[in-house]
């Protein structure tokens, strides 16, 4: 996997390359690293472990260890339809966003990377400008627009704007990828009778697969964690995605801290799992997007 990922990540994952050895008090490096890591991970572990306690345990000692470990909170949440509905909604929205952003993104990137026409620079600048303005500035009018389309309380009303907002990152990452495909390949394909579109389907898409996967993952994680758009668009609890589900659950059961902790940790597990599987791609995609 490391060979594939080094494609986009550039220096970060270039294996086998090390800094010159410097003698620097090694134990200190480890000590600081351990402190750093516990600050980063501690709160996450608190949420997960807290879900194994009971409310009376938490009230008696908010920062204590489970004693005994209770699995009741987790099984309760897993048995509730509420959790699975939110999980399903998040999955549908995430997949829809990912497919849409990747398909539209690669088509547009191909044009920007490999066609020559006057408006090309403007087209790239249009998408690049989108990077600068996250959803916050557009959300109020966007809500009205979606309401006029009749897509409020509809997962489609979430997917379409999310595709649009995922396009800048997708295009920025994919354009250099597609540009790097040697033109000799294209010439060879055209000698063999392939049109430019045929070249696109048969050569470009397979060759840019690593970039496609990276952008797909970024779009999926962005959608999975999205909060502001669902907050405006969805008011029907049956359509809530996981972030809204967590918020709803935590206000509904505000006295039942243990159960809220269990719900919260279950909702972050898919993202954590996903991240640990694709860590290099996510990290590489982000640094790639920023370094352009």
């Amino acid at each position: 996997m490391s060979t594939a990922t080094s494609v986009l990540v550039q220096p970060l994952d270039r294996r086998g390359r090390r800094r010159p050895r410097r003698d620097w008090g090694n134990p200190w490096v480890y000590l600081i690293a351990v402190i750093l890591i516990s600050i980063c991970i501690g709160p996450v572990l608190y949420i997960i472990i807290g879900g194994f306690r009971t409310n009376s345990q938490i009230t008696a000692d908010p920062s204590g260890w489970p004693d005994p470990w209770e699995t009741g909170n987790y099984t309760d949440v897993l048995a509730s339809g509420e959790f699975w509905t939110a999980m399903l909604n998040s999955t549908v929205v995430g997949l829809g966003t990912t497919v849409g952003a990747v398909v539209l993104g690669i088509m547009a990137s191909y044009v920007i990377a490999r066609y020559d026409f006057r408006a090309k620079g403007a087209m790239y600048a249009l998408f690049a400008a989108g990077l600068m303005f996250p959803i916050t500035v557009a959300i109020t009018p966007l809500y009205l627009l979606i309401r006029n389309l009749g897509l409020v309380n509809n997962l489609g009303g979430l997917i379409l704007p999310q595709i649009a907002f995922a396009l800048p990152t997708t295009v920025i990452i994919l354009v250099p990828f597609l540009r790097a495909i040697p033109k000799e390949l294209e010439e060879a394909a055209s000698i063999d009778g392939a049109s430019r579109l045929g070249f696109f389907w048969r050569m470009v898409i397979p060759l840019s697969l690593p970039g496609v996967i990276t952008t797909g993952i970024l779009a999926f994680v962005g959608s999975w964690n999205g909060y502001m758009l669902p907050l405006f668009i969805l008011s029907d609890a049956d359509l809530f995605t996981l972030p809204l589900g967590v918020q709803n659950f935590s206000s509904q059961y505000s006295v039942d801290t243990a159960r809220v902790l269990a719900y919260t940790s279950l909702s972050m597990l898919p993202a954590l799992l996903f991240f640990s599987l694709f860590e290099r791609r996510i990290v590489g995609g982000l640094t790639g997007a920023v370094k352009g």
Partner: protein, 338 residues
């Protein structure tokens, strides 16, 4: 994994993209017109859908906001109560908006001052030879990957008056440090800055680390031969060469801080944020525009946020990013401009 299909062909990094498009350009230009129209058709077919979706859901709303912002309008029917700049006057005269703007400014400044130096130090640390480096890199990135709602809910529970943080402080004999972390206006902004730093520093560290690893090794070797110490080397080699990375990161951080909404809304809720002193322009917009149903006013707030972000972005590009304008944010490698 499917990703292993990556061939060396596609494995070129960004910078090495051949200007193949340019070379090919002359050929279709000389062809008869039919081919020209065919190419235009292909462009429209391939790029059309993305542009339509993007313009419709990203650009159009901003334009709509500019129009709606001039009306007093509850969001139903056609806006007809034209009030000119009335909404804008209301916004700029509203002390709660000015508070929110001030809070955004604090977040911008302290995000840079806290996360920047810390991220560079952590990246330096992780750039040292040590075992388990890749594991550390994964772990430091975890807070960035989990959603704002999970982070917000978790921290809100821990920071309650009867939460884990106060209890932990009591256990280690620091009762005096116990605080009402969320509600007390004198510490709430500090709490917010701490959570923001915790959540977003992983991103900064990863960027800085990537920047550091692209610095040529020879420079370090040369400096070491010249007898420079570790900190001296970092100060005079790493830091200057990290400049472009730092400037891009700072840009993203500033824009993000101006748009801050999620964590504040989740932890402080719609009403507490104003009294605790953590409200932002975006929470102000949500409360006074969306929840209050005043869409003319809410859209005017959106325009104000947009303009502030735009001015900041342009000023930053003009004066700070100028040196490395070939970045992602300035167009097609500058080719379209020059």
């Amino acid at each position: 994994m499917t990703g292993t299909q990556a061939t060396p062909l596609a494995a070129r990094p960004v910078g090495s993209a051949p200007s193949g498009a340019g070379a090919r350009a002359s050929a279709p230009g000389r062809r008869p017109r039919r081919a020209d129209w065919r190419m235009r058709g292909e462009i429209a077919l391939l790029a059309g859908p993305a542009i339509v979706v993007f313009v419709f859901f990203v650009i159009l709303p901003v334009v709509m906001a500019a129009v709606y912002g001039f009306f007093r309008w509850k969001g139903f029917g056609f806006p007809d109560d034209f009030v000119g700049f009335g909404n804008y006057e209301l916004i700029l005269q509203d002390p709660t908006f000015r508070d929110a703007l001030w809070h955004n400014a604090i977040v911008v400044v302290f995000s840079l001052l806290l996360q920047g130096p810390l991220a560079i130090l952590f990246a330096l640390l992780m750039n040292q030879k040590m075992r388990g480096r890749s594991l550390i890199r994964v772990l430091i990135f975890v807070p960035y990957v989990i959603s704002e709602v999970v982070v917000g809910t978790g921290w809100a529970l821990m920071l309650q008056d009867t939460g884990a943080i106060n209890s932990l402080l009591a256990k280690i004999g620091l009762e005096a440090w116990q605080n009402s972390w969320i509600a007390d206006p004198s510490v709430a902004m500090g709490t917010l800055m701490f959570i923001l730093t915790w959540k977003y520093i992983g991103f900064a560290v990863i960027l800085m680390l990537a920047g550091m690893q692209s610095i040529p090794e020879e420079l370090y070797e040369a400096a070491a031969i010249d007898g420079a110490g570790f900190w001296k080397i970092q100060w005079s080699i790493t830091l200057p060469l990290l400049g472009p990375t730092i400037r891009i990161w700072a840009f993203l951080s500033i824009i993000g801080a101006l748009q801050l909404f999620d964590l504040v809304n989740i932890i402080w809720g719609q009403y507490v944020s104003a009294t605790a002193g953590t409200s932002t322009m975006a929470t102000y917009m949500y409360l006074n525009g969306h929840l209050a149903g005043n869409y003319g006013f809410g859209n005017a707030v959106a325009v104000v946020i947009f303009l502030i972000s735009l001015v900041v972005a342009l000023v930053y590009q003009r004066f700070v990013l100028r040196r490395d304008t070939d970045g992602a944010l300035t167009g097609d490698s500058g080719r379209s401009r020059r």
